[in-house]
């Protein structure tokens, strides 16, 4: 009887481990930043990435247009409409150990202008930029938290 109890306990621990290992969800943060050379205003909300942006790009003004934090489940994309006819879709396509794999699609009028798969460690950021926005461009800062 004791042996059966011990085996059941082991089985329970094993199943809990497997469940937690197989549970694939991640929190992602997507910041949509408008960068331009008109003015020299740095959005206070971008203080943490200001140095990165300053060293990588030569824009003088950075403005946070949107800040979205969302929980992603495996293979269940989340679409964020950013402008009429434009949207950004983020999908968790894989998660193993300490890496989350995201598919990012920038869609313009039904066409993918970007389809990328990026792998991020916790707290790491990938910047996606280039699409024009007014006098400047849009930069997407996607970071993973899990």
């Amino acid at each position: 009887m004791k042996r059966i109890g011990f085996l059941l306990g082991l089985l329970l621990i094993f199943s809990v481990c497997i469940t937690s290992w197989a549970r694939a969800d991640a929190q992602a943060r997507l910041r949509i930043i408008g960068a331009s050379n008109s003015g020299a205003a740095i959005d206070p909300a971008l203080r943490d990435v200001h140095n990165q942006l300053g060293s990588l790009f030569s824009f003088t003004s950075y403005r946070l247009l949107r800040d979205e934090v969302f929980n992603l489940s495996l293979n269940r994309p989340i679409t964020i409409p950013v402008h009429p006819g434009r949207s950004i879709a983020v999908e968790l396509v894989g998660q193993k150990r300490n890496l989350a794999e995201f598919r990012v699609r920038v869609v313009r009028e039904g066409t993918d202008i970007l389809n990328a798969v990026v792998r991020l460690g916790p707290g790491r950021t990938v910047l996606i930029g280039g699409p024009k926005h007014g006098e400047g461009v849009v930069i997407l800062a996607l970071s993973a938290h899990f």
Binding site: S55, V82, I113, V118, R124, G129
Partner: protein, 171 residues
């Protein structure tokens, strides 16, 4: 006047056992020359002593004690001389040196612990994928794409060029 017998009587035992001092011995012997009662007491002590000693000595002579000594000598010879290490082990053995059955799982647990901790201790210190953001795949139907990885800022940039699009108005 004080009775001389009362002062000598307590010393008679010591005198009989040969434990009296020279002064006491002289006092007693001087008194015994004049006192018949004390002489009688002393003689009765001698008789009592003889009465006890005689059967004991006879019994001791009859008893063969050599076997006791032989046994003691044999025990002394059988017990090997112990070193300080053996003595320590004998004293602290149950605490420091448990049985072999305990050693086996303890050794296995130690090995597992070492192997697990070694994987952490000797892990490569080079930046792993966890420390970076990695672009696995990029595709764009309408733009030129550049992927730039900055080691200094530990950030990856995907940049789209020359998108033939209408400019979007600021949101």
């Amino acid at each position: 006047m004080k009775d001389p017998c009362s002062s000598v009587a307590p010393l008679l035992d010591k005198y009989f056992d040969g434990e009296a001092s020279a002064e006491e011995k002289e006092t007693i012997e001087r008194h015994l020359t004049d006192c018949g009662a004390c002489q009688g007491v002393l003689e009765s002590m001698g008789r009592l002593s003889a009465l006890i000693r005689t059967p004991v000595e006879a019994s001791v002579e009859q008893e063969a004690f050599p076997w006791v000594w032989q046994k003691i000598q044999r025990e002394i010879q059988v017990q090997p001389r112990t070193t300080w290490w053996e003595a320590l082990r004998a004293r602290l053995g149950p605490f420091l040196f448990p049985g072999r059955r305990t050693w086996v799982p303890a050794a296995v647990a130690l090995l597992i612990l070492l192997s697990v901790s070694a994987s952490f201790l000797f892990k490569k210190q080079t930046p792993s994928h966890q420390d970076l953001s990695v672009v696995e795949y990029v595709e764009s139907s309408s733009c030129n794409v550049m992927v730039y990885e900055s080691d200094q800022e530990q950030v990856t940039v995907i940049w789209l060029f020359e998108c033939p699009e209408k400019e979007a108005s600021p949101s």
